[in-house]
């Protein structure tokens, strides 16, 4: 029996500590992990809870992130609750096994503290690692602050372990801006959290010797397609389950989550679509622009996978101009997030104008002023009835002006 961990109604936690408390309250059985900045404290804290009797679990300190996820897969196939955390290069090293975890339908929870990918090496936050995971078959949820990192980590277990889902879940938070910034956080009591998350009910349990099971079979061209599409459908079908879990969480805490979050969108003419802490920056900018007569709104993607194609369309169909902010180097294309949002908007009758800003790479600051400037530029596009700049531009980049692709609609 675990020792009692004293919690206050209000705690001052950073995103890492918040996530680690969620792991403790979810009574995670096995964490196989490897340290990497900025996610290290999450697994360090789990190790400390084990060392001090606050949780009865096994903390396996492996020799690489690839092994961390491999150990998680073995442990998860053995029927218990499993989680770990990583960032950046560690996430990239894990990439091979991320696909294996989802293909075997194992409900592992991975806290990803977003960080840039080298080269050049950089320890600060951007969304390169998050994007790298987007085809890996995991559910990906994005927390914009410490409270959300805590809340969504609890929800992640309940979503992934749901028998109609059975998928691994990533909970993202921005490196340093969320992971290392102490904020007011309101935890559940241990009892309430345990009740909400519930106990894991194993499926195809390798330790159930009454039903020997083979994991990781070879499928060639006669079977592979069907397995991949069955998995794709499972991710698509997780949408109502995610909604249900969010609704149940709101009942318990009053904190409301949606797969697509909208702020000031009721009468917005222009909008920013963003992920992560940038959402909070843009919200302040939008508030401040009210006095200047600009109706600016923000659409934030809470659930990056399954991608809320229909909800994005719904949220943006009435605006005139949208800017999609990509915090990852597109490396020879439009931003990946821009492409996904644009695809959704292309199927609307109104087809708002869409522009793309690449910003914040390697932890480059994104200011309220810059968000205001982007909103105003979208207003200018809206007023002109076409995009008056290049479609892809860069926010916060030093050097001569850089932009790509002109609109054909002007």
């Amino acid at each position: 029996m675990a020792e009692k961990f004293d919690l206050n109604e209000r705690e001052v936690w950073d995103g890492n500590y918040a996530a680690s408390q969620a792991l403790r309250q979810a009574d995670v059985d096995v964490v196989a992990a490897y340290p990497i900045t900025p996610s290290t404290p999450i697994v360090e804290n789990y190790g400390s809870y084990v060392a001090n009797g606050y949780i009865d679990g096994e903390f396996i300190m492996v020799e690489s992130e690839h092994a961390a996820m491999s150990g998680c897969i073995g442990a998860s196939a053995a029927g218990g609750r499993v989680a770990t955390a990583t960032s950046s290069q560690g996430f990239a090293l894990m990439a091979e096994v991320l696909y294996q975890a989802s293909g075997m339908r194992l409900p592992i929870v991975l806290n990803v503290v977003n960080r840039a990918l080298a080269s050049p090496l950089n320890v600060s936050g951007d969304h390169s690692d998050m994007y790298l995971g987007r085809d890996s078959g995991w559910i990906q949820m994005d927390a914009f602050n410490a409270q959300e990192a805590y809340d969504l980590t609890l929800c992640a277990f309940k979503i992934g372990e749901n028998h109609s889902v059975r998928l691994p879940v990533m909970v993202h938070q921005d490196g340093f801006t969320t992971s290392h910034t102490a904020q007011n956080t309101y935890p559940l009591t241990d009892e309430a959290a345990a009740k909400f998350v519930g106990k894991i009910v194993p499926v195809d349990d390798m330790l159930d010797f009454s039903r020997p099971v083979t994991y990781g079979a070879q499928t060639e061209s006669d079977w592979h397609f069907e397995h991949k599409i069955k998995q794709h459908k499972a991710i698509m079908d997780s949408r109502p389950v995610i909604d249900e879990v969010y609704a149940e969480f709101e009942k318990l805490t009053g904190r409301e989550y949606k797969r697509v979050e909208s702020y000031n969108m009721e009468d917005a003419d222009v909008a920013i679509v963003a992920l992560g802490t940038t959402v909070e920056t843009a919200r302040i900018a939008a508030e401040e622009l009210k006095s200047e007569g600009i109706k600016a709104g923000i659409v934030a993607i809470r659930c990056f996978r399954p991608f809320p194609f229909d909800q994005v369309r719904e949220a943006l169909k009435n605006v005139k101009c949208v800017s999609v902010l990509d915090r990852s180097s597109p490396a020879g294309a439009m931003g990946a997030f821009f492409n996904e949002v644009s695809a959704a908007l292309y199927t609307t009758a109104s087809r708002p104008l869409v522009t793309n800003f690449i910003y914040g790479l390697g932890g480059r600051d994104f200011s309220i002023e810059e968000a205001k400037r982007i909103f105003k530029e979208q207003q200018a596009h809206a007023d002109a009835g076409h995009i008056t700049t290049d479609i892809q531009q860069f926010s916060g980049l030093r050097g001569p002006y850089l932009g790509f692709f002109q609109t054909k609609r002007g």
Binding site: D204, S210, R211, V213, A217, W223, E226, K233
Partner: protein, 153 residues
């Protein structure tokens, strides 16, 4: 020996590994490409002989690789001393031994490698390779005599 009732399920030997299973749609296949080896409770499986087990249709025991064979081993029970060399070294779990006695060859799973013949210590050998299409009775009728010591190679 091949009359031995060793079929655990009636589906034994019906599925051809080469031909694959019935090619099921995405809605019918197992979640996570998981395969269960048995139908029902398999807790005690280690104490059950093949014919007592409830193999699932996913178990390769229910499949056959007989078509791989060019030559087949033929077993002559009259010469066999039940040493079990063939049993321990058969790479295809195809030597049927029960209660320390060699009973025959599982021709659904034997690939005809010939290891059993090589490791057979009797004189003459109790296992010999014959062409796949050769009748067992005919093969047995052509069994060689015991070799004299000096003729042994």
């Amino acid at each position: 020996m091949q009359d031995l009732k060793l079929r655990a399920n009636d589906n034994r030997g019906l599925s051809q590994l080469e031909a694959g299973f019935d090619l099921l749609g995405w809605h019918e296949i197992t979640q996570g490409s998981i395969l269960h080896s048995f139908d029902g409770d398999a807790t005690n499986i280690v104490n059950l002989k093949a014919e007592e087990r409830t193999y699932s249709g996913y178990n390769s025991y229910t499949a056959t690789v007989a078509s791989w064979r060019v030559d087949k081993p033929v077993f002559n029970i009259d010469v066999c001393i039940d040493c079990q060399n063939c049993w321990v070294w058969c790479p295809d779990s195809s030597i049927i031994s029960r209660d320390k006695q060699m009973l025959g060859i599982d021709y659904d799973h034997c690939k005809g490698c010939g290891v059993c013949v090589e490791v057979c210590p009797t004189n003459p050998k109790s296992l010999l390779m014959f062409a796949e299409q050769r009748e067992l009775g005919e093969a047995l009728s052509q069994w060689p005599e015991k070799k004299k010591k000096e003729e042994k190679n």
